[in-house]
Amino acid sequence: MEQAISKKRTLKKIISYAPIYLMMLPGLAYLFINNYMPLPGLVVAFKDYNAKKGIYGSDWAGFKNFTYLFKTDDAWIITRNTILYNLAFIVINTALAIIVAIILSELAAKRLKKFTQSAILLPYLISSVIISYLVFAFLSSENGFVNNTLLPLLGITPKNWYAEPKYWPFILIFVNAWKSVGYNCIIYLATIIGIDREYYEAASIDGATKMQQIRHITLPLIVPVVTMLTLMAIGRIFYSDFGLFYQVPQNQGALYSTTNTIDTYVYRGLLQQSNISMSSAAGVYQSIVGFILVLGSNLIVRKFNKENALF
């Protein structure tokens, strides 16, 4: 009897929410078709792909397609580069985005606030090819701003930037920060605005300074959002922004030791070979590792604070 009633209630609930489920349907259908249906195609990474036989008809190759990612010295270099860059990006971009978001939230002038928001968002929308030429305009040996104007002013000898790998971690981290801070701070800004003003009023009545207010009210309350975004970023730790690492160093071989990541290595190595199995193997490798890392970090976060974890 009770079961029948609760079933009826659930059914009523579903019917009353029917329009909402219907709205969800196109999105779900797209998600299913675009993201889940192609999943069986992952086997191409474990096969010796032959276009005539198709994906499912080609012969099995076991883990042969993965060996090139681990065999040579280069393999260690690209893995190291990818992980270290991503760790730096996560830490630096998050810190910068939070700082900018806090500053923006404290801005009183509305017009200035809106203008600044749009202005810092702009770099994110520029294509990496254009960014690479912006950087080239600064770092070019013959006509660049740095070599011809800035360094002589400071009394330092000009360098051939595109031939010295050691400066590029800094250059790339800087360019990536310049590009992402506007986009990333939007979410933090939205969270900060959502914090109840009463906390701040209570704090200022109690005599807290701005810095103390930020440290004890703002930061703790945005921790959930920061955790969530960081966990998601960890899931992509083996991926890299191809445009950033291929275009901005102008595809210069001399810089490979510090700018070659898994994505660019695979692209360069396989461009002449058209080997679909091997390139898919790289993608599978990146996804599986990312998946394991997300699950792992999520578990760790759960131990600390159940609410902050993703799932």
């Binding site: 276009a51 005539k52 036989k53 065999k71 040579t72 001399a254 360069r268 002449q272 070979q273 058209s274």
Partner: protein, 520 residues
């Protein structure tokens, strides 16, 4: 009330705009400079068994300028002929060279309509490895419908395109040989140095030392100019090396006189070449931006900042480079003429597996290899509109039209099936095609002519080696670093990346090929 009407109208306009965007385009090839393939329009035809049924084919090739403005008109003109003669209609799918390989790879794997494909850009061997090209001799296809092709090219060159004994593509009639060690130099600068011109053919044959002296003289007179700009292919063109299989990992030296495969980067030639370029760099002939700047050398000469660059020699090269650069160029040559193993099969015309009607495809190929009207249309454009025949019988621009205003110009005449039956463009010799035939005949021929390398067994090593070579290539071959230090370093890393494995595989495949062809 007003607001409601306004909102309603806005919604209607947006919906109409959406629907307008959904209409299919006319199904022609992309507009100038575009690189999207048309999804509607010409697909692969039916089996053509019913007489009177027109088979539709998609013919794809690349140019360095994308699809010219008047492509559709040319296509129509060609279709008028092909419809009548063989009952076939074509759609010209012209793509910019920079994205051609990716575009074709996508179309091949996506099984899109693609019936005839030119393989410029290294597509030939990779498509064969992926099983994406048809065997052109299956069921006697070439024999039955392609006799004209065999007559036009000759069996020897056709055989040079075989891979594993199977014929997957057809070579075209062009300069197979290449004058090695050639450089194009601005004539006015050359004259300033007091150089004495030989009164021989169009190419000046000089020694390497004389070239160095010329560069030194120009640099003295014009220290503000960039004297020489190396490009990625410069080292290959300025050598007598045969890059087996189109890559520099395991080569034949000395015009491919013997089938002895060596590691190019450990040879004296490579060290000497790099030292010479490093010397140029130290003397200031080469700009430090040479590695990062990707502007075409001809554009730099046109802009007046560059004096010379490497090129491949052939009959008609002087007119070609002068046309591209806007300045009169002199071509000097320091090495001999040479047909490398992979030059015949450089970019064959193929029929991908996507095609559903091999008979129609072969008929069309036969037509375009033999019909002068078709070749003239696709090479030069429509007579009267894009070119006229002048009094001396050459093709030239019509009144008021030049290289920048013509609606159909691409300078890719050498890529099409049979250049030898087209008009000769003004500025060349009247017997240009005969000159080229002689040029081909008299050049050094590599012993490995026709050999193709299959890299699937050594994919892992190949991937690693490519990454290492690309890391060092520009700094060494553009003279930016000291070769005595950098070359041994690169060789160490190449070895640990698996260079020896690739070379051994090449030796094995070459020996097998020699046995198959009865040359062992």
């Amino acid at each position: 009330m007003k607001r409601k009407i306004f909102v309603l109208m806005l919604a209607c306009v947006m919906v109409l705009g959406l629907l307008a965007g959904c209409s299919s385009d006319s199904g022609s090839s992309s507009s100038s400079g575009g690189n999207e393939s048309s999804s509607d329009g010409g697909g692969s035809g039916d089996s053509g068994e019913e007489p009177g049924e027109i088979a539709k084919l998609v013919v794809a090739f690349a140019t360095f300028v994308g699809a010219p403005a008047d492509t559709l008109a040319i296509q129509e003109a060609m279709n008028e002929i092909s419809r009548e003669k063989i009952g076939v209609e074509v759609e010209l799918l012209i793509t910019d060279y920079a994205s051609y390989k990716q575009q074709m790879t996508l179309m091949l794997t996506g099984n899109e309509p693609l019936d005839i494909m030119n393989t410029l850009g290294g597509l030939y061997v990779t498509s064969i490895q992926n099983g994406q090209l048809k065997d052109l001799e299956e069921d006697g296809l070439l024999e039955t419908y392609g006799q004209g092709i065999i007559d036009a090219i000759g069996q020897e060159y056709i055989d040079a395109c075989r891979v594993g004994g199977v014929l997957y593509g057809l070579p075209n009639n062009r300069d197979m040989a290449q004058g090695r060690g050639c450089a194009a130099i601005r004539t006015d600068l050359l004259e300033e140095t007091g150089y004495e011109f030989q009164n021989g053919g169009e190419i000046e044959k000089i020694s390497l030392e004389e070239l160095n002296n010329i560069y030194a003289a120009i640099h003295e007179l014009h220290p503000e100019l960039e004297i020489y700009r190396p490009v990625v292919g410069s080292m290959g063109q300025f050598s007598n090396v045969d890059q087996l299989g189109g890559n520099p990992y395991g080569v034949l030296m000395d015009y491919g006189a013997t089938l002895d495969v060596v590691n190019l980067f450990e040879t004296d030639y490579y060290m000497e070449y790099c030292q010479r370029i490093h010397d140029y760099y130290n003397k200031g002939y080469i700009s430090p931006d040479a590695a990062t700047d990707s502007t075409a050398v001809t554009e730099l000469v046109k802009a007046g900042t560059l004096a010379s660059y490497t090129t491949g020699g052939k009959p008609g090269i002087k007119a070609q480079e002068t046309n591209l650069c806007g300045y009169d160029m002199t071509i000097v040559q320091t090495l001999g003429d040479y047909i490398a193993s992979s030059s015949v099969a450089g970019f064959p015309w193929t029929v991908p597996e996507n095609n559903n009607d091999s008979v129609a495809a072969m008929k069309f190929l036969n037509l375009i290899y033999t019909d002068a009207d078709m070749m003239n249309l696709i090479s030069w454009g429509i007579e009267g509109q894009h070119y006229v025949i002048n009094d001396e019988g050459f093709a030239d621009f019509p009144e008021g039209v030049d290289a920048t205003t013509s609606g159909y110009i691409h300078s890719m005449g050498w890529m099409f099936p049979n250049q030898f039956i087209t008009h000769v463009w003004a500025g060349n010799d009247a017997d240009l095609w005969d000159q080229i035939k002689t040029f081909n005949k008299e050049a050094n021929k590599s012993a490995a002519l026709g050999f193709a390398f299959d890299s699937t067994k050594v994919s892992t090593e190949y991937t690693a080696v490519v990454n290492v070579y690309e890391e060092y290539q520009k700094s060494i071959e553009y003279g930016l670093t000291d070769p005595t230090v950098a070359i041994p370093e690169m060789n160490e890393r190449l070895k640990s990346a698996g260079m020896e494995i690739i070379i051994n595989e090449k030796i094995e495949q070459l020996n097998q090929w020699a046995i198959d062809m009865g040359k062992a």
